[in-house]
């Protein structure tokens, strides 16, 4: 599929949003995303550590990483470019597998701190609905975050007395 295969498809149909709240300030979460030695400590599932990670952490800078599986074999590397960096607030970057013709996703990672806790939001915008279906089929939980969003809306409406 060419790089812009999904260009005509609405963004809402190509995105997945994942959220989680952490008991830590935004500063530390931003830190965890912004240094290769940190990313290596948490990115990837148990048993698949990130063993290669290069980051030129600035707008326009490139990054790439790869995990190593339990058999000791390095998995397909992935990476992209940093598109926007707002310290302690937001990181936007492209991400895709280093495979011939592979499409890139755009990840927007947002840190919202309140009362010492931080809401982490990871929005993945896929290049096409087909790419999204491939990732969701591989275990990315769709609707996980939108369920939470709806709950948030409901709580807000209840508070407003509606």
């Amino acid at each position: 599929m060419s790089a812009n295969a999904g260009a005509g498809e609405p963004e809402a149909d190509r995105e997945v949003i994942i959220t989680r709240t952490y008991d830590a300030p935004a500063r530390l979460l931003f830190e965890a995303w912004s240094k290769p030695e940190h990313l290596k400590k948490w990115f990837g599932p148990v048993g698949y550590p990130v063993t290669m990670c290069e980051m030129d952490f600035r707008k326009g800078g490139q990054w790439r990483a790869a995990m190593t599986g339990p058999g000791g074999e390095q998995q397909t590397p992935f990476g992209g470019e940093y598109l926007e960096i707002v310290p302690e607030r937001r990181i936007v970057f492209s991400n895709g597998f280093e495979l011939p013709g592979a499409e890139k996703m755009i990840w927007t990672v947002t840190f919202d701190e309140k009362d010492g806790k931080t809401l982490l939001t990871i929005r993945t915008l896929f290049a096409s609905i087909a790419q999204k279906a491939t990732h969701v089929g591989a275990g990315m939980k769709e609707g996980m975050a939108s369920g939470l969003d709806q709950l948030g809306d409901l709580v807000a409406r209840l508070k407003a007395g509606a």
Binding site: A32, P45, G47, T76, Q131, T134, A138
Partner: protein, 119 residues
């Protein structure tokens, strides 16, 4: 990606000619004749390989009646890479590990505040 398609993708990749065709298509679309040229194989043989790749979703054919250029579809390759990397557990476990990691950062920071740094 459905398991059946994963079977087709790995079966399609288990042949050196088909992998060479995919490598050629990574540089851009090509007609069947253009794909036949670099190989010491007949056109029907190449066409048979293309059918296997097409069933796996790895290539698609253009609509233009005469030349019908062949294109690479990378999405199934991505599905195969996701399967190999055990991405089913990726998100949940990464976010859990991030929780452990930021707690560790927080603890270290607390220690620096309460103690004087040595260096």
């Amino acid at each position: 990606m459905p398991v059946e398609q994963l079977d087709l993708v790995f079966a399609a990749l288990a042949d050196p000619t088909r992998r060479a065709i995919l490598a050629r298509l990574a540089d851009g679309e090509a007609t069947v004749n253009e794909l036949v040229a670099p190989f010491d194989l007949s056109q029907p043989t190449i066409s048979k390989h293309l059918k296997v790749l097409e069933r796996a979703g790895l290539v698609s054919r253009g609509r233009e009646a005469q030349f019908r250029p062949v294109r690479l579809n990378a999405t199934p390759l991505e599905g195969a890479a996701l399967w190999l990397g055990d991405y089913r557990r990726f998100w949940e476990e990464s976010l859990d590990r991030l929780d452990v990691f930021v707690k560790e950062l927080k603890r270290k920071e607390g220690r620096h505040v309460s103690k004087r740094r040595r260096r």
